[in-house]
């Protein structure tokens, strides 16, 4: 339980001048159990890593939507007190930087379908996040993708089929391209 370098060195310790491997270890913390990790390790990646078992269809999702989502997001995802969820733009145009741009929706702006599942399961419904079963989350995701004309009504959404869905805005996103030499960025 001893630091690997003397304490007096710490006062001179600058991260920028010392490589990561030279940092001391203090042997604090407790090894995490598999259960602890599994309980919180719920994030879904675009490649589908993390998607749970289960499935759902747009009609299943429609019923759940009416009960749990419609109050805030309006009939058929058209928007209410909170975000509009449904809407498309033409494929050759991405007009959101322009004046009077359309509202951003799952169908016209979200680049990854896995994000829809992850976000609903993580954060929705606003007043009771965590209360939806995985099957319900699959169904709601399917319903919203169907409303956005991305999957057909009889589509069975699951860990197998979800990662293969290509969202309309998939190729629109670029990592921060501001350059320090640019005056206007």
């Amino acid at each position: 339980m001893q630091p690997t370098i003397p304490i007096f060195c710490l006062t001179l310790w600058s991260l920028s001048s010392q490589s990561f491997s030279e940092l001391p270890q203090f042997h604090l913390g407790t090894p995490a159990t598999d259960q602890e990790v599994a309980k919180w390790n719920t994030a879904i990646r675009p490649d589908g890593k993390g998607l749970p078992p289960g499935s759902g269809t747009p009609p299943d999702g429609h019923r759940i939507y009416q009960q749990r989502c419609q109050y805030c997001h309006g009939i058929d995802g058209q928007g209410g007190p909170n975000d509009k969820l449904v809407g498309r733009v033409s494929e050759d145009h991405f007009p959101f930087a322009e004046k009077d741009a359309p509202r951003k929706t799952i169908g016209n702006y979200w680049p990854w379908a896995t994000t829809v599942f992850d976000y609903i399961r993580r954060t929705m419904p606003y007043t009771e996040p965590g209360s939806l079963s995985d099957n319900e989350v699959y169904a709601l995701t399917a319903y919203l993708l169907h409303l956005n004309s991305i999957i057909p009504e009889n589509f069975i959404l699951s860990a197998t089929t979800l990662p293969d869905i290509v969202m309309p805005a998939r190729n629109r996103f670029v990592s921060d391209n501001r350059l320090e030499k640019q005056e206007i960025r």
């Binding site: 710490l10 310790w13 991260l15 920028s16 990561f20 940092l23 270890q25 203090f26 042997h27 604090l28 913390g29 407790t30 090894p31 995490a32 602890e36 990790v37 919180w40 390790n41 719920t42 994030a43 879904i44 990646r45 675009p46 490649d47 007190p81 909170n82 145009h93 991405f94 007009p95 959101f96 930087a97 322009e98 004046k99 741009a101 951003k104 799952i106 702006y109 979200w110 680049p111 990854w112 896995t114 994000t115 992850d118 976000y119 993580r122 954060t123 606003y126 996040p129 805005a169 629109r172 996103f173 670029v174 990592s175 921060d176 391209n177 501001r178 320090e180 005056e183 206007i184 960025r185």
Partner: protein, 399 residues
Amino acid sequence: MNDERRIGRRTFLKSAVISTAGYASASLIADIRQPGLPACEQGTRSPFEQLRKRVGGQMLTYASTPIHQLHGMMTPSDLHFERSHSGTPAISPDSYKLLIHGLVENSLTFTLAELKRFPSCSRITFLECSGNCQDYFKKGPQTTPQELAGQTSQSEWTGVALPTLLRETGLKSKAKWLLAEGGDAALMTRSIPLGKALDDAMICYAQNGEAIRPEQGYPVRLLLPGWEGSSCVKWLRRLEVGDKPWMTREETAKYTEPLLNNTARQFSFVMDARSVITSPVYPAQLEKGWHEIRGLAWSGRGSIKRVEVSVDGGDHWQPATLHGPVLDKAHTRFSLPWHWQGKDTLLLSRVTDSTGYRQPWVKELVAVRGIGSLHYHNNGIIGWRVKSDGCVYYEPVVG
């Protein structure tokens, strides 16, 4: 009871005046003083000072700092702006733990007490929401800096350097990104490049000398100096190390900037330089004569090199005085004495940071990025119109 006490004291004073009238002049008697309040366990603001955050949002998820009513470069903790995605949770420090797992050698959990046993570090830095000034074009003349640009604040933050913790867990060779997850109801998540984590990221448990306020992430938050506030995940409960970003909702659907070339910019973490005049501003009413133009300037890419102020709508610029210490990635106070002669004019400020970057005009940003892009990262020059009657109003500078 209080009223009776006051009357009693007044009666006592009156009798004192009568009894001493023969010995001293009336003016001396009027200087008789009484002891003030005794020492107290917890100080409060003077009742004459009514400082308030301004709460907003459909779900009441943000509150802005009254930057036009503050002095110097620090923000009182209770006035630090707040932004949450599902309200402020109540987290017990006793049950708190931070989990670090994924592409690490050892998955570990840390209690709050363990985090505090590591070597600590402190730094003064600003935190700003990337949506600050998003209503630049929508706000009317009767807008205060708090309403326009109050989503920025500055504190001294204390905690443990994130590399110190990652040294405990070890990193696998493929590690490139971290997922930071909050313990709020939204379980807010952001993907963070490992480079930033190993540069100057901090796991903070204290703010301005005491435990972090609940609205700021009690008991523990992530701090990424100079980066947009939403990436500095509050109520931090989990860091997962991975090889790719997770593409969470906040880094795709929300904190991204669509551009005019049919793309959208994402992972635009760094807050570019901004300055804002905080006095005189709406709702001030000026008298002719000397005033001090005051404001704040900051940059997520370095320190403040220069602030210039224009008192004639941009025709001429004068250097403002910078009030030290001028710190890296920190609010810096600036000022310029100004003699107002009663004419209608437009006050402007612009900052140049240590990288040489100068705060742009909004019209320049619109031309390069598009007006729809400016919902986030709109750091354009801000104007304050002084009318000939002395009234000061907010004015978007778009021409």
